[in-house]
């Protein structure tokens, strides 16, 4: 039995095509999206637009009715931010973080999801165990990490004389990579889930036909699994980049704000310090917006290179 191409069948009367020209072939899409769009409008729009506005003015939050002057200062905030070495360092730190975290996450999540999908014995136990750090409150996980990677921690005791000096989290070079490792470990459960869901939809026939063509397991993995989960890979790359760029909680808890000489400061930490602690939300907004723009650029690039045509 053959299927007829959908576009050969006239589905709607000619009168409706004008509507379609305005609203697209399927205006129901707008109806479906309306709740979400309303949500974005009433929750996200104002704070975001205010942030943008703030970044171009001399601004601080004031009591309603207070008479304060918010002068337009053009690019002065951006200038101040871009000439601050601490800001460059924070962006650099996040760059290092992403370079370690994203590839590691993709590789480990896919490998683990693949194996967890196949394994038969103790399946529930194994799957749950990888998810656990993701749900455990940061407080407990940080305590464990400090227990392991603290100056007198387990890892240093095992390494003995080759333990790094100064120790991991207070080492200006190793602090950020250690945090990257920690966050990868903690978040992996989420990305394994994404890959698991994607792997369910890879048709068995593809593996079977590859096997009959003589492909070994590795070959099957490379030529069947990886291409089939490409959309999930894009998702994992995108989401891990976006959440990684907004890194705040982990440096805050592990190194309480900045580490040695700002070695583990992140841009969002600076946004918090300057915007909320120091009462200069205009400068904080400038930093935040630079971050947003950078991440959007990276996200678009990732979509192009990782996603291919179906994204």
């Amino acid at each position: 039995m053959t299927t007829t191409a959908a576009r050969d069948i006239p589905r709607h009367s000619p009168n409706r095509t004008r509507l379609h020209r305005v609203l697209g072939a399927n205006p129901l899409g707008i109806a479906f999206s309306a709740p979400y769009l309303v949500f974005v409008a009433i929750v996200f729009a104002i704070p975001f637009v205010s942030s943008i506005w703030m970044s171009f003015h001399d601004f601080f939050f004031s009591a309603p009715g207070a008479d304060v002057d918010h002068a337009f200062v053009g690019l002065a905030n951006y200038q101040a931010v871009l000439t601050d070495p601490a800001v460059w360092q924070a962006f650099g730190n996040v760059g290092v973080f992403l370079l370690i975290n994203v590839p590691l996450t993709v590789v480990l999540a896919l490998l683990l999801a693949f194996q967890l999908n196949r394994v038969v014995h103790a399946r529930t136990f194994l799957r749950v165990s990888f998810y656990v750090p993701y749900v455990t409150a940061s407080v407990a996980v940080v305590a464990v990490w400090l227990f392991l990677f603290g100056g007198d921690g387990l890892v240093n005791q095992l390494l003995g004389p080759i333990a790094p000096e100064p120790s991991w989290l207070v080492n200006p070079v190793l602090a950020m990579p250690t945090i990257a490792l920690f966050v990868t470990w903690k978040q992996l459960g989420f990305y394994i889930l994404l890959y698991l869901a994607a792997l369910q939809n890879v048709p068995k026939e593809l593996y079977e036909s590859a096997a009959t063509d003589g492909a070994g397991r590795l070959r099957q993995f490379l030529s069947v699994t990886i291409p089939s989960v490409r959309p999930a890979t894009l998702l994992v790359v995108l989401l891990s980049t976006v959440t990684g760029a907004n890194l705040f909680t982990e440096p805050y808890l592990l190194t309480a704000g900045g580490g040695p000489n700002g070695a583990s400061a992140s841009p969002v930490l600076l946004v918090y310090q300057k915007g909320i602690e120091q009462g200069t939300p205009d400068v904080a907004a400038a930093i935040g917006l630079i971050l947003v723009v950078l991440v959007l650029i990276i996200a678009l690039l990732q979509r192009k290179f990782v996603g291919g045509e179906n994204s």
Binding site: I9, V22, L23, G24, A25, L28, I30, F32, S33, P35, Y36, F39, V40, V43, F44, I46, P47, F48, S51, F61, L112, H121, F125, L126, V128, S129, Y131, V132, P133, V135, A137, S138, V139, A140, V144, W145, F147, W185, L188, L194, L196, A197, A198, Q200, N201, P203, K204, G216, R217, P231, L234, L235, L238, F248, P267, G275, A285, G288, L289, V292
Partner: protein, 291 residues
């Protein structure tokens, strides 16, 4: 006529015995590494005296006690906190699943004007850090909408998780178009298509979204803390954070009490996953397309 390649010895499921065992060992080691924080948390919460040395990981049975749980329950009402967390999280999951599925489907399958903009918005919302928006958002919700000290005020900023929207869209995109065309030819409307055809096929994605959307509000501290000062409405994550920052120091084992609270916070999330993960099974798409 083909011949199987590779080692001819004891091939079960395509793997040699050795390879199966190896995989098992590697996975088990990984599981141990990942379970360790949970284990440490339980052990720590049951100790009478904190022991942060190495030996603390394998505690002396004489040092074990449930006292920490009693202590923290005296100071913060654990049950009340769990209920509040539940309401907050359930509200977010409900909105996200219902409205997120609609948007995801619309973005992936339907053609309409504004499709690109909506996806761009979802991405943008994801990208902007919460700390940037926090205070204007608070002013908006507390002052302009008058929702302070209410569940709705807590839920509103998180109501529809944009990551979920992006995930739904991605999984709907992966479905072969032929299925939809086949059903459309049979006269099915879009809503019907969504409900009967698309949703069952993305069940793993639905479950994934429920599980990940659960974690955000469940562990969220900063926003509920801002929006509610009434202790009777505060979710457990907030009560726990307040406890850690202030009261814990005067408890007999502050570290233990903190871990006890953290354990109580983690248990529902883990339970949820244990229950749901069995639904992560293959949906056997192949036969849906042919014939």
């Amino acid at each position: 006529m083909t011949t199987t390649v590779g080692s001819p010895v004891h091939r079960t499921n395509g793997l040699t015995r050795f390879q199966t065992v190896l995989r098992g060992v590697v996975l088990a080691l990984g599981a141990v590494a990942f379970l360790f924080p949970f284990y440490y948390m339980i052990i720590g919460s049951l100790q009478a005296e904190p022991d942060s040395s190495l030996a603390g990981a394998f505690p002396n049975p004489a040092n074990l006690t449930g006292e920490n749980y009693v202590e923290i329950n005296e100071r913060i009402d654990l049950l009340r906190g769990l209920v509040n967390s539940g309401v907050f999280t359930a509200g977010v999951i409900l909105c996200t699943v219902v409205f997120g599925v609609l948007v995801g489907y619309a973005l992936a399958v339907l053609q309409w004007r504004g499709r690109g903009v909506t996806f761009a918005l979802a991405l943008l919302v994801q990208v902007v850090p919460f700390q940037l928006l926090m205070i204007p958002l608070y002013v908006l919700i507390a002052r302009d909408y008058g929702l302070s000290d209410s569940y709705l005020g807590m839920i509103l900023p998180f109501a529809i998780n944009s990551a979920a929207v992006i995930i739904f869209r991605q999984y709907f995109l992966q479905l072969p178009r032929d299925i939809f065309e086949a059903a459309r030819i049979d006269g099915a409307g879009e809503l019907r298509l969504l409900w009967n055809v698309a949703l069952p096929l993305v069940r793993p994605a639905l479950l994934t979204v429920v599980l990940i959307t659960f974690i955000g509000p469940w562990n969220e501290f900063l926003w509920p803390f801002l929006i509610t000062k009434d202790a009777a409405l505060q979710p457990l994550a907030v009560s726990l954070a307040n406890y850690i920052s202030n009261v814990a120091a005067t408890a007999s084992n502050p570290f233990g009490a903190t871990l006890a609270g953290a354990f109580v916070l983690a248990v529902p999330a883990v339970t949820l996953f244990i229950v749901f993960q069995r639904y992560f099974t293959s949906t056997d798409l192949g036969s849906g397309v042919k014939g």
